[in-house]
Amino acid sequence: MKLTAVRNFLNETGDISRFTGRFFAEAFKPRYEFAELLRQAFFVGYKSLPLVAVTAFIMGLVITIQSRPTLVEFGAEAWLPKMVSVSLVREIAPVITALICAGKIGSGIGAELGSMKVTEQIDAMEVSGTNPFKYLVATRVMATTLTIPILAVLADAVSLYGGYLGANIHGVVSWDLYWNQVFDTLAFSDVLPSVIKTFFFGFAIGIIGCYKGYNSNKGTEGVGRSANSAVVVSSLLVFILDLLAVQIIDILRLT
């Protein structure tokens, strides 16, 4: 029983690796599907913006409110903007954005491609002279890889604004003082690694959603399972990639 589970896990890991290899082999060869890439970027980016913004705002606000009492206890209330900005930009905003996108976009891609697969739409596309892998998979993976970093940067900004409001609920921090402290604290080595890791988060969300949907079977039940496992696996991958990113940043002494 345990051996079968291990074998299935290894088989799936191998299949995902092959799927990723196929992406690199096919995505950068003509014919390029620019129109579909833009359409997907619009769906992935623009349509996820409100959800990401609201979540980031709440996270910024909550983290600030909850951190304040501890800092007050040590008489370090003035450090609040510094501490909050580092936590938000380095970790919370990118990871929250990726998790929101894994839930919203990963499940959407898994379900859409899954239902296209079981209703033979992917075969119909191939018969219509279109490489479905290029048209459906390559465009979606590129769209998530390119738009999730933009969403994460926007989430940084919105969560920092939430932090400003949070700091002013019980205390008084002026607009100028807050942002001066934030920008004094944040270094190139805080922002760049956190943006770079979001490209990997985006890629993982796209590739897992597409893999699960593209290999969906067993009818409508399979579609549900594809959408569900797309979210589970891509969320888990986001955390694993985050862990790896921290280790690499640490080794490179960027912290």
Partner: protein, 257 residues
Amino acid sequence: MIPQTNIAPEMDTVLSAPVIQLKNVSKSFGKNHVLKDFNLDLNKGENVVVLGKSGSGKSVLIKCIIGLIKPDSGTISVLGKNIPELNHTELDKIRAKVGFLFQSNALYDSMTVRQNLEFPLRRHRAKMTKSEIDNLIIEALTNVGLAHTVDMQPSELSGGMKKRIALARTLILKPEIILYDEPTTGLDPITGKEISNLMCELAKKYNTSSIIISHDLNCVKIVANRIVMLIDGKCYAQGNFESLKNSTDKQVQQFFQ
């Protein structure tokens, strides 16, 4: 040993060299041998129905013909080209001449009827102007009697309408050959008959040759010039509707009772 009940086809159409020729095609999935040295010829202007039980490999057969599934062995010649040996570009050129009507219609849910019909045109005829594309779309929709649905979403259409739109999408490239995968399955008898008549009408209008996978005897009776019975992965018997209906072979009789 499977009894061979080969009955000569009765054809009204004047025949020339086969447009599709399958020789010793075999395909298996694990231990399930779906096709075993299967042979079939489709002549120009002919409508051949492949009849067989569910899971007997009929859909696999036509997916092998269009190159969606690769056979384990054998040759599949479509318009003179051996499909398993073709690369993607060559396969796309052949696919522009071969229409495929899917069992589930396979209309793109996220696109309107217009965009569904535009899709193969933009892929295969990239140099066409907007007005030429619009004219072809209207012509294809008029042929199936659904010109008014051009800006509707597939989810707004009934089962019969979806089938007609899928047929219009198949016909828009004016293919020489059409492969139908259970065209009347899931439709009521009246709509099924309408679709069968439409298939005959359009075959005459565009001079197409067809392979039709079907269980529906009413459809088979209307469209078939010749029926091929696929049993145990082989061509068990062939002939026209009447000759197979009057066959004394038990396996053949099962389908016509």
